[in-house]
Symmetry: C2
Subunit: 438 residues, 2 copies
């Protein structure tokens, strides 16, 4: 009988309710402040791009994950599935307008038609920060410092930053004469946290031989400190090389008092099949090891090679904001405020509507967020409404109070009433959470 349309959202998509959106905006603001303090600038690119731009000329492989269609002009288009590819295209498009090294951050939604059974979403927010146009230890280091500052600003200090260098791994595989199996080996090493050392060793043995498998496992294990790990890497990869030198420089700078965080050289970090060529990073929360890395990245040789002949090296890292928010919630680091309103003015008499709004205006000038309840309802109902919205105070004012220029306040959490206050006294209570000195 009903002609109603069921108000459902697509599988893998979600609404963000106010209390989640408030928390998300707070986290974004904290991160943006950190990025800005390091000289990173924001930019934005279209959600929709030519499919060829996003997928490359061949571009069939990732197809299943990509929202791709033909638009009205019969253009082959797709929704961005990450922020790196659009950034590469952006750099090529605006090469002549930008100054390098160029440092940008980008917090935006991306789209992947992933299997939702693994708890993945099809629309999610990424937060990327990159330095392009400089292949230096300074930039490699700076990304780590931004990562550290970001988590510190969010109130998370109990975490470890793990890093390694893809180049060192390449030298090592080359020394073992198994460079031709790099892809398979990387894939197996990447499985280590999931399937464990024994299983990896067995599969590596099948791929190479037991002796080499043993060596690979020795290579990717950590020693008791970064210096020892460096020594081992040097031994196993056949002496010094530029990649190892870079890694040594980074370790030296990190240990020179720049930071007190746990930066661990961990050769098992390879970032799997990603396009990284230099340093690679991952970040783990000590209290939530199960959620995996919350901020990962690395150095790439040539960002925009699909679109320009200019070689543009870069280094950067990315935070999965949804996963981070879930983690912050689990750690109790973000609140669940359904609103940021400080005060609600009750509607006792609809004739006083103008007066209520003028009181609200005066209080807003003092930096107080004020909601005016718009219609007359039972007072108990209005109190309960304010309580459900997490508003700490109500202002109660009828004709008599208006006459005398006074207001009454009620703190909902304690049911305390503060009667016959001047507006100044009310401001005092509202801004300090304290009753005025008698």
């Amino acid at each position: 009988m009903s002609d109603l349309i069921e108000p459902k959202v697509l599988k893998g998509f979600r609404d963000s309710l106010p209390q989640k959106e408030i928390a998300k905006k707070e986290v974004e603001a904290i991160l943006e402040k950190v990025f800005t303090s390091f000289g990173f600038v924001p930019l934005d690119t279209p959600v929709l791009e030519y499919a060829e731009i996003l997928l490359g000329k061949g571009g069939g492989e990732t197809d299943k994950q990509v929202y791709r269609f033909f638009d009205h002009g019969n253009r082959d288009v797709a929704l961005r599935f990450d922020l790196t590819v659009p950034f590469a295209r952006f750099i090529a498009t605006h090469e002549s307008e930008l100054y390098f090294p160029f440092k940008r951050y980008h917090i935006a939604k991306v789209y992947r038609g992933e299997n939702t059974q693994r708890g993945r979403y099809r629309e999610f927010t990424q937060c990327d920060f990159d330095i392009v146009g400089s292949d230096t230890v300074s930039s490699d280091l700076e990304i780590l410092l931004v990562m550290e500052s970001s988590f510190k600003a969010l109130g998370i200090e109990d975490l470890t930053f793990r890093f390694s260098h893809r180049g060192v791994f390449s030298y090592f595989l080359s020394k073992l004469d198994i460079s031709n199996k790099t892809v398979e080996i990387l894939r197996l090493v990447d499985k280590l946290p999931k399937i464990g050392g024994e299983a990896v060793k067995e599969q590596l043995s099948g791929l190479t031989d037991p002796e080499k498998a043993e060596k690979i496992l020795t290579f990717i294990s950590r020693e008791e400190n970064n210096e020892r790990t460096l020594e081992k890497l040097q031994d196993l990869s056949g002496g010094s090389n530029p990649a190892l030198d870079r890694l040594r420089d980074i370790c030296r700078l990190l240990s020179a008092g720049l930071s007190r965080s746990a930066f661990i050289l961990d050769p098992s970090i390879t970032r799997g099949l990603d396009y990284y060529t230099g340093i690679v990073y991952e970040t783990f929360l000590r209290d939530l090891p199960g959620i995996g890395s919350v901020c990962s990245g690395g150095r790439y040789d040539n960002l925009a090679s699909l679109y320009t002949k200019t070689r543009i090296p870069g280094v950067g890292s990315s935070i999965g904001l949804d996963r981070l928010l879930a983690a912050l919630e689990e750690l109790g680091k973000i609140g669940c405020k359904p609103s940021n309103t400080d005060l609600m003015i009750l509607c006792l008499e609809e004739e006083l509507t103008g007066y209520y709004h003028s009181l609200a205006g005066k209080l807003r000038e003092k930096g107080i967020s004020v909601e005016v309840f718009p219609e007359k309802r039972k007072i108990a109902g209005q109190f309960s409404f304010a309580e459900k919205k997490g508003i700490p105070f109500c202002l109660i004012c009828g004709s008599a109070e208006k006459e005398s220029g006074k207001v009454n306040l009620r703190r909902l959490s304690t049911r305390e009433n503060f009667d016959s206050l001047s507006l100044e006294q009310a401001v005092e209570i509202l801004t300090q959470g304290q009753p005025p000195k008698a």
Copy 2:
């Protein structure tokens, strides 16, 4: 020969370069602060929804403007083309979790395959704020107050808010016995600013008769003040009615000292064929009349009727953020800063990389945004880089300065040098823009 992909964006889509994105974020932050101060909360909905949700069950009409396709699961989906329809769906989906009246704002991108020749974009940002669940003069008024506060916070005070009431217009047409031609008449009245009074009158005459056309033109013209306009509307629409009462209440509240802005009752404001049923609003900048309304909206009877049987009235307004940004730029109200960085630390010696980063860390703790130039280049080139990025100060420090714990500053705009400063003295200059007192 080249296998490069041309790095072009789709027609009607744009990149947002840092200086534009910085300005946009500043404007958004200002607006969000205003909305929050009135008790509005943020929310977000998916960019992609079921086509049926966005277009209704029939839903073929707007097709050409809507990005619609079949996803991997063969679902008929579309990109949102405004923020109102997803909000209606959101309200129906979460009806039981929300408390009414519910006040939300939403700043997000929407998509329309419009003709780009008219200077329209296919991806643009809307900023909506609505109060739903209360059909009161208080809510009608509050939206106007939020509009006023928003533009004031953006530094624009020379503007007029024009409003009217669709219901009064209906009573009037009913009195003239031409209610059956409402749609055509609204369409013509909406053309007034474009084609002028004479043309509208001629077409109205054809549609009705010359006498009625004359009356319609009299109805939609303004008198010298809101009171006179109200009187005229009452005469022409056959005495008092609830719509006129609401309009009178709003005028009375606005003139009671709540605000000093120009709120003009202008019966020619009808918002064309939109779904409004009560008050309607438009906003014009006095210095830029040509760009049309920068913030428009109104009251609707029943927001979510497609999805739920609950009647949910609402009132709200919407800012086209791209048009507003263009206007602010033209009015010189927003800067064109290519970065928010306060200081760049030059790289004189790559061996000092760690020291540069530690200096930067100390300065950031003082609230200063610091960029560390990551590699050794000619000093003139580094200065020029900082200048192009709009960074006001450079810090120059070599081994000798490091030894003595001193730094040198240079203010790029004036070429002033401040030599041999302690870090505290440098902070003093950087935070006040003034040299330290000798």
